[in-house]
């Protein structure tokens, strides 16, 4: 295991940030710590880095117990949400910093440092900015420099705290892909913290979902999406429709194609793309009305209104490819038949 965390707990006053967390991360993975704000994900990352001390528990890096080691001895690379570049140093000096502060006997020669820094700057495709100051760079550039700086000391693990959190959407999209490729090339075990499930799914090879200081689920993005361990994960990862059987949805679900035998819990979560709709053939039995739809690129999100037995109207969301939707020739207010292909059941 490259990174191991054993029974870590952390309290801030009465608030429990981390509640007995254990986590193993194999060599070479790119792991996302995913969760809503305040779930303890950043605290866990900072404890692994040594920027914060846990109240109890141990941290192992490459098999060595580093719980009592200060951050400077842990050989980690840390990338901060707001970059934390040294604003009084040029880009070059920022990246060279980790090499220059080494004890004299370990320090590389000036020529080697130069070469190494320029290589790293080329790696992040910003060598042409080497004599600029951080204030003169854009957010995306700063974050790439911060990454180059962290990589300069050849860390055994790379820790990134909301690395794209402060960037605008388009830069974010580019950088995600770029980080994934970079990780593929360097293969250094990495953990990044995010509250954006899309980002976690897109970038990470493993996702750890945290909530209220506990791990809800850990697994590959596909696994977590297809087999959410509980209602929280199902809701947090991707879109989902929630049907509560205690509110008389059982009959309705049966007519929608989920027979009583398939009902394995109290609450059904249905992904929008697991809902199929067709133009209603017999008007009397139609039980949903098409309210509106939105274009999401290749997909159309369809907003349906279901009139419940108790008189409450509830919205149900379905998704289908653009062309398929067009072929249905549906208009707002049309009555449609609805079929549920698959549901996750929770208690």
């Amino acid at each position: 295991m490259s990174i191991s965390v054993n029974n870590i707990s952390k309290h801030f006053g009465a608030f429990t940030a981390l509640d007995n967390i254990s986590l193993d991360i194999p060599e070479g993975e790119l792991v996302a710590l995913l969760g809503p704000s305040g779930c303890g994900k950043t605290t866990l990352l900072r404890i692994i880095a040594g920027l914060e001390q846990a109240d109890q528990g141990d941290v192992f890096l490459k098999g060595d117990r580093v719980t009592d080691q200060p951050v400077k001895n842990r050989q980690i690379g840390f990338v901060f949400q707001h970059y934390a570049l040294f604003r009084h140093m040029t880009v070059f000096e920022n990246v060279a910093f980790g090499l220059r502060v080494k004890p004299r006997r370990e320090r590389l020669g000036e020529a080697i440092i130069r070469k190494k820094v320029h290589d790293l700057l080329s790696l992040v495709q910003l060598d042409w900015l080497h004599d600029r100051y951080p204030d003169q760079l854009s957010g995306g550039q700063r974050q790439r420099i911060a990454l180059a700086r962290a990589l300069a000391v050849e860390p055994s693990v790379l820790l990134l705290d909301e690395p794209f959190g402060a960037l605008d959407a388009s830069v974010r999209k580019d950088l995600r892909q770029w980080l994934r490729n970079l990780h593929h090339d360097l293969n250094v075990t990495s953990i990044f913290v995010t509250h954006d499930q899309e980002e976690a799914m897109e970038v990470a090879s493993q996702v750890v979902v945290l909530n209220h200081g506990r791990i809800e689920q850990q697994g590959a993005p596909g696994d977590i999406y297809d087999h959410p361990a509980n209602a929280f994960v199902s809701r947090f990862i991707g879109q989902t429709n929630v049907f509560d059987l205690e509110e008389h949805d059982a009959d309705w679900l049966q007519t929608a194609g989920l027979s009583a035998a398939q009902q394995k819990g109290k609450i059904a979560h249905v992904r929008p793309h697991d809902i199929v709709i067709e133009k209603s053939t017999h008007h009397s039995d139609a039980y949903v009305t098409l309210k509106d739809w939105q274009h999401l690129g290749a997909l159309i999100r369809i907003e349906l209104v279901k009139s419940g037995i108790n008189g409450h109207a509830a919205s149900v969301y379905a998704e289908m490819p653009n062309d398929q939707f067009r072929r249905l020739h549906l208009n707002r207010g049309d009555k449609v038949d609805l079929r549920i292909r698959h549901a996750h059941w929770f208690h």
Partner: protein
């Protein structure tokens, strides 16, 4: 732009009074987007009038007074040994005091920003005391404590044989006291804004605490420290009230320039007093220019310009 200003004034409910007249409206549209901030003319006029009334006219009056002297007379006053000694004492003490206040002020500002301790707010308020205290009061207190028979003065005298009050050392002490708040108050906000993530970044890259301090913290705080030192120095050179009681005022030893000016005035030697005053003004101005230059250089080197 005009449309925007009309809209915003309506929001304030001041439509009738604030709406631009046609002439103004035309002017605004003519200016296009050359100057978005209104009120350039009144603001700059006020600034110039103020500068003229409070700074330039009094200073020119002083200059005029000096012209009553011939160049030879002026030179004779300046090269007078007693005058030169007082210049050395005034500027020397102010410089040393400013640097000492710079170091002490840095440490105090650091403690106030970085640590929590009981009585911190009280301590914080005490820093400003030299600003508010009548300087004469401060001078008398300092003199009483540091004089050879005084509370601390006796201790120092007995243990090291060094006399503080009535010596240049006493002047320096008073100027440190006066200069300290300038340094603390200029460094404090900069330290508060300092992004501590930079320190964490340095540590994660393997830097020791000392390396982090020297390579990361200090360069970011240095420009503010220089400003503080410059302010303390500028104040120290002209300081009169707090120095006069502790200085002893012995010619050639502990006589400061402002005192010499007063002495000349008391002897109705107005031209002589203004000559010294003018020289002092020029020297201070040059030194401040130098410090500003140094600051510009530091900022430039640290990428803040």
């Amino acid at each position: 732009m005009a449309a925007i200003s009309i809209k915003s004034t309506r929001h304030n409910g001041l439509t009738a009074t604030v709406l631009p007249t046609f002439r103004q409206y035309k002017k605004i549209t003519d200016m296009a987007q050359s100057n978005i901030m209104p009120g350039f003319r009144p603001a700059i006029s006020f600034t110039l009038v103020y500068l003229a009334l409070i700074v330039l006219i009094p200073l020119s009056a002083m200059l005029m007074k000096t012209f009553q002297l011939s160049l030879d007379e002026y030179w004779a006053i300046l090269t007078n040994a007693r005058v030169q000694a007082s210049f050395r004492i005034s500027f020397g003490a102010a410089l040393i005091a400013a640097f000492v206040a710079g170091v002490f002020g840095f440490i105090i500002a650091w403690s106030l920003v970085r640590y929590n301790f009981p009585g911190k707010r009280l301590f914080d308020a005490l820093i400003d005391l030299p600003f508010a205290l009548p300087t004469a009061v401060a001078g008398i207190v300092l003199a009483t404590i540091y004089e050879p028979r005084g509370w601390i003065g006796k201790l120092v005298m007995d243990s090291t044989g060094i006399q503080i009050a009535y010596k240049p050392l006493g002047i320096t002490f008073a100027l440190i006291f006066i200069g300290l708040p300038f340094v603390v108050r200029t460094i404090e906000p900069v330290l508060q804004e300092f992004d501590t993530a930079m320190e964490e970044a340095a540590a994660s890259l393997g830097a020791t605490r000392l390396q982090t301090f020297i390579k990361v913290i200090l360069p970011n705080i240095l420009p503010a420290t220089i400003t503080g030192v410059a302010l303390a120095f500028a104040r120290g050179v002209g300081e009169y009230g707090s120095v006069i009681f502790i200085a002893g005022n012995m010619p050639y030893i502990s006589e400061i320039v402002p005192l010499l000016i007063i002495t000349k005035l008391e002897q109705y030697d107005y031209a002589g007093a203004t000559a010294i005053g003018l020289t002092m003004l020029l020297l201070s101005f040059l030194l401040l220019l130098l410090i500003n230059g140094l600051q510009w250089w530091v900022r430039r080197r640290s990428g803040q310009l």
